[in-house]
Structure formats: structure tokens, C-alpha cells
Amino acid sequence: MASVPTAERVGVEEAAALLYREARLLDERRYDEWLDLFTEDGIYWLPIHTEGGDADPRSAISIIYDDAARRGERVFRALETPVLDQSPPSRTVHLVANVEIDRDGDAAPGDTRVHCVQSISEMRAGGPGQAGLNEPRTFAARCEYRLRREAGGLRIALKKVALLESDQPIYNLTFIV
């Protein structure tokens, strides 16, 4: 990353601040504002674990591989349509930790690669005895972000969430992870 002037380098504190802000927007269900965190070409990606590492998302199936248009649909769906799987809606708590800048890994020029881990707790509350509701679940994930400095501030060019159980049967993952 020698081409990036030191003053413009993204430091761990600045990166963490963005990740914490993202976590809070998601936990407050401010999904429209979450959309604004991404660059126009940004990708929101939940790969499925394979022995050989990440498959090329274009020629394989991911749990989620969202470009801007698909992210917009995801948020529209959750907030503005009569959706059953988010009715009742998910409550979430995102814990972000182990934030680390990776200056050695390959990233597009100008992008900063950031690793972190997240623990995402989720629950949907309903009437007593309803299958699928009222039970808190916790998802552990190793995450990779690529951050890019744009005119309006630091933005997300990639959010990759590698869930511990990505290759296992997963029930209702329709909140924004």
C-alpha cells in the first residue's frame, strides 16, 4: 500500500469506528442508513464454507451475494413488504471484536482490508409455544471488510461474513447479518 499517503491511511481506530457504527445501525434496524455505508460497487457476501476455501461466488452458490440492487431489495423486503419471516422482526445484538488492519493481504488499490470477528445474537419474539420464535440464537463469524475512502467518508466495498456453521442447515437468516 505504498501508493497511499500515510495521512490517508485507514487506521484500526477509524476502521473499528465504522464497524461499530454499522453494528449499531443493524441492531437499531436502521437498514436504510446501513445501505448508505456501502460503495456503489460494494458487495455483501455470506459464503458457504468449502474444504477448498471460498468458491468463486459467480460460479457457485452463496448464502448471500448481494450487489447494491440486491441489498436494496433485501432492505425493501424487510421493511416495506408483508414478509412472514421477519414478522415478528429479528432483534439483534452485534458484538465486533479482534479488529485488525491487514496491509499485507491483497486488496484493490486504495482499499483497506480489515479483519474482525463478530458474535451476532438474534431473537424473534412471539406468543408462547410458537415454534421458531422466542429462542435466542448466536452466530459466530469471521469477517473481512474492504474499506474505501470516498468523498462522503469511509465506506464498505466488501462485507464478507464467514459464519461458523455456513455449510450446515441454517434456519431463518433473513435479518441483515
Binding site: 464454507h49 431489495e73 415454534a131
Partner: protein
């Protein structure tokens, strides 16, 4: 709850006097589930996977037939074997992984080694057994019958019964047309799959894929999303969904069908042919326009008891318990089509299906709602009679309106036929004898 007059498994499907009702116990009674595993899953043909998943000699994948752990393999001679995943010595599974490549399976307990056709080739410290120990008689047990149809691998744990081709019967032409969307008539499965579990009975998923009645309601959100994307106004989607039909077949199969044709506005295949001239040319080189009309019809085809052929994937249903099910959605490439066409299919799949899709999770919420609601078992029966008065018998199949429960009734006619082998009253305590002698 009120005592009811049902005295046998078969009596749980009431298809007499011009009615069609299913008893609540079908979805909730562990004894019924146990009988289903023995009398249906361990007898009839069960779908395991596609040949392309074990393309090379040594490839294997593990799964279950009913509750029984199995591994299916490709031997060095190219043959597919389906082996019970249980060491003949003390019973440990000889393969714990999901899939992989190995010509041998070594039991982790005492290191007995089997070839991938089941042959026992090694007994550790063999001097502990007599010299004439019958190694040949202690291979991994093979499923008595294994057969493939156009690359789809099925196995039956019953030594006799209808052949796979007899079992598929009149649903075969529809399966053929489904494959013939590929100009080479073949598919290649891609990995990894989507998987989801749900805490409800396996038959909710079996019924729902060919149910054309729920879409306007359960998927109202999806229809709004398509409208927002500029793909079609909701009123047009609803009108389109009036078209097509449902079909029911012997041996429990059924399908939901939307009209095909070359009109890009009406048919996916028509759209793809317009978008990819090479694809259009390849299909036209092999098929007449009449054939293409059939090939391009969109169909969700249920193959009893556990498989669905969908436009983007093959779905398999794995019953775990009366109120627990796991479903795998394995996406395939259509062979011989432009790469961009398949890529478009993968992105379309992710949009609707899987744990984070815009369609599947809505369906699953309904399965859970049904399982919870059926705890109100003061009502004995659920209704499965929609369209019974208007479906027509045509050439060995029943054809109903696109919103009729014709395919589901086929499931339960076969269910009843197979479950008749288990006698006895339907309540748990009384069932055991009937099941074990069934």
C-alpha cells in the same frame, strides 16, 4: 382430545365419500413417523443424489435413507454403490464426512478396512479370529437395489418391488423435458448446497413445492419485490399464476406447472432463448417447436417421497423426527448453455431460495405455524379436498387447476398404500406391534 374412529395408519387418510381429509396424527405422532421410516423410506425408491456429485472413481457422499446412515460411492469400475454406513464389527460409521474422495473406508474403532464397493479387505490383528473367518460375508451392507434415471441416483432398501422406471411411471416424460432444457439433456451439480432445517414435519415441505395455492399470500412480499424491480406488476403476476395446472401421478409423484412457449414475457426458457441465440439454436437443433413448448413449461416436480426437481436446483428432504426436517437445495448447471445463462440462474436462485432468500424462509415460517397450530388437536382433521370435484383423469394422471391440491392428494394416496402394511390403532402405544410386523 376426543377419541376418534381411526384404527389403522391407512385410516389417517380419509378419501371416502367424495372427501379428502388427513388426520392430525399424520404430522404429529412419533409412532406415525416411525412407521413412515420403515414402511415408506425403507421400502420405496429414495433419491440420494446426482451422478455428477460422485463423478470420479473414489468420490463419495454420505446421506440417509430414512434414518439409516448410508454412503454412496463411485467404484473404480465406474459403478455406483450405496452402502450402509455401519462397520460390520461393532457398528461405528466408517465415514463421518459429508463428501470427499477415498477408495477405502477405515473404521476408526478397530481399523477394519472396506473398499468403496463395501468389500471387507482388512481386519486388524486378524489372528484374533479363526482362519476361516468369513470376510466375504462381512462387507458393508449394500442397498439391495440401486438405479439411476438420467443421472439421478435412487436406492431402495427393499429387495423387491417396482423397478425405478415403473416407480417413476407417467412422471418420466416431465422429468425428461426438465432435463432437456439443457441442449445436451444433462446437468452438473455445483457445490456447496443451500441447507435449511425446520422444527416441523417433513411432509409440509413435500406438499408445499407443488402447491400453487399459497403463492399469492405467503409470497405477497416476493410479488411486491418483483413489481418494485420493474419485472411485472403484482396484478399481472397474479393473473399469470392462474395459468398452468397441477398434476398427480401414481406412486405419489406430482407437479405444479406454468405454461411454456416461446413468448419471452411468459416463459423463462423463452426469455433465455431470446437473450442467448446460441442456446436457442442448440434447442431448435434438437427439438421441434411443440417439444420446446413442453420443455419450456416451468415445473416443480415432486418425486415421492423425498425429492423435488426445481428450475435452479434439486431439493432433497431428510426427515429427522416427527417435528424436525432438514432440506438440501443443490443447484446445478445446465450443461451446454452459455456460462452467463447459468450465472444468471445462480443469482436468481440466491434471490428466492435458501436461508436468506426472499422466498424459502417465508414458506418455512408456514411449516412452523402449521406444526404449532396442530397442537390444537381437538380438531381431528385437516382438509386436502381443494379441487377434488374438478380434477380430471387424463392418460393415467390427474390434472387439476393450478391452485388445486391434486399433487398433495397423490402423495397421500401413495402414503396410504404403503402404510397399509402397518396395522393397528393410530395411537402411539398401540402401534409398535403393527409396525414391527408390517
Amino acid at each position: 382430545m376426543a377419541q376418534h374412529a381411526v384404527t389403522s395408519f391407512a385410516g389417517l387418510v380419509d378419501d371416502e365419500n367424495g372427501d379428502f381429509r388427513l388426520h392430525t396424527d399424520i404430522y404429529t405422532d412419533p409412532a406415525v413417523f416411525d412407521a413412515e421410516m420403515r414402511l415408506i423410506f425403507e421400502r420405496t425408491w429414495v433419491y440420494l443424489g446426482h451422478e455428477s456429485e460422485i463423478a470420479a472413481p473414489g468420490d463419495y457422499r454420505t446421506t440417509t435413507i430414512g434414518r439409516q446412515p448410508v454412503v454412496f460411492t463411485r467404484h473404480e469400475d465406474g459403478e455406483v454403490h450405496v452402502l450402509l454406513n455401519r462397520c460390520r464389527h461393532r457398528g461405528a460409521v466408517v465415514c463421518r464426512l459429508d463428501s470427499g474422495h477415498s477408495n477405502f473406508f477405515r473404521c476408526p474403532y478397530h481399523s477394519w478396512v472396506y473398499q468403496n464397493d463395501g468389500t471387507l479387505v482388512g481386519v486388524a490383528q486378524a489372528s484374533g479370529y479363526p482362519e476361516d473367518f468369513d470376510k466375504a460375508g462381512h462387507g458393508l451392507l449394500r442397498a439391495p437395489r440401486v438405479a439411476t434415471y438420467r443421472g439421478l441416483i435412487f436406492a431402495s432398501l427393499a429387495p423387491d418391488g417396482p423397478t425405478l422406471e415403473e416407480h417413476l411411471g407417467p412422471v418420466r416424460p416431465y422429468v425428461d423435458w426438465w432435463f432437456d432444457r439443457s441442449p445436451t439433456g444433462t446437468i452438473t451439480m455445483i457445490s456447496p448446497p443451500h441447507k435449511y432445517p425446520y422444527d416441523a414435519n417433513w411432509k409440509w415441505q413435500a406438499e408445499n413445492g407443488a402447491d400453487g395455492y399459497h403463492g399469492n399470500y405467503v409470497h405477497a412480499s416476493w410479488q411486491k419485490l418483483l413489481e418494485r424491480a420493474g419485472e411485472a406488476p403484482v396484478k399481472d403476476i397474479k393473473r399469470y399464476r392462474e395459468g398452468g395446472c397441477t398434476r398427480g401421478f401414481p406412486y405419489g409423484h406430482g407437479l405444479l406447472e406454468r405454461p411454456g412457449g416461446l413468448n419471452p414475457a411468459a416463459s423463462w426458457t423463452g426469455r433465455m432463448m431470446a437473450k442467448y441465440p446460441d442456446y436457442a439454436e442448440a434447442l431448435r437443433g434438437r427439438f421441434s417447436d411443440d417439444d420446446i413448448d413442453e420443455i419450456s413449461a416451468r415445473r416443480n416436480i415432486f418425486i415421492f417421497p423425498n425429492a423435488y426437481l426445481f428450475d435452479t436446483h434439486i431439493r432433497s428432504i431428510r426427515p429427522v423426527a416427527v417435528d424436525r426436517t432438514e432440506v438440501s437445495l443443490r443447484v446445478y448447471a445446465l450443461d451446454g448453455v452459455p456460462e452467463a445463462l447459468n450465472e444468471g440462474r445462480y443469482r436468481a436462485h440466491e434471490r428466492f431460495y435458501g436461508p436468506s432468500g426472499f422466498g424459502s424462509p417465508d414458506d418455512i415460517e408456514i411449516f412452523l405455524s402449521c406444526q404449532t397450530g396442530l397442537k390444537a388437536d381437538g380438531i381431528d382433521w385437516i382438509l386436502m379436498s381443494r379441487g377434488l370435484h374438478r380434477e380430471e383423469a387424463v392418460d393415467g394422471e390427474l390434472v387439476g387447476h393450478s391452485t388445486d391440491e391434486t399433487p398433495t392428494r397423490s402423495i397421500y394416496r401413495e402414503w396410504k398404500r404403503l402404510m397399509q402394511n402397518g396395522a393397528g390403532p393410530a395411537r402411539s402405544a398401540a402401534l409398535t406391534a403393527g409396525v414391527s410386523h408390517g
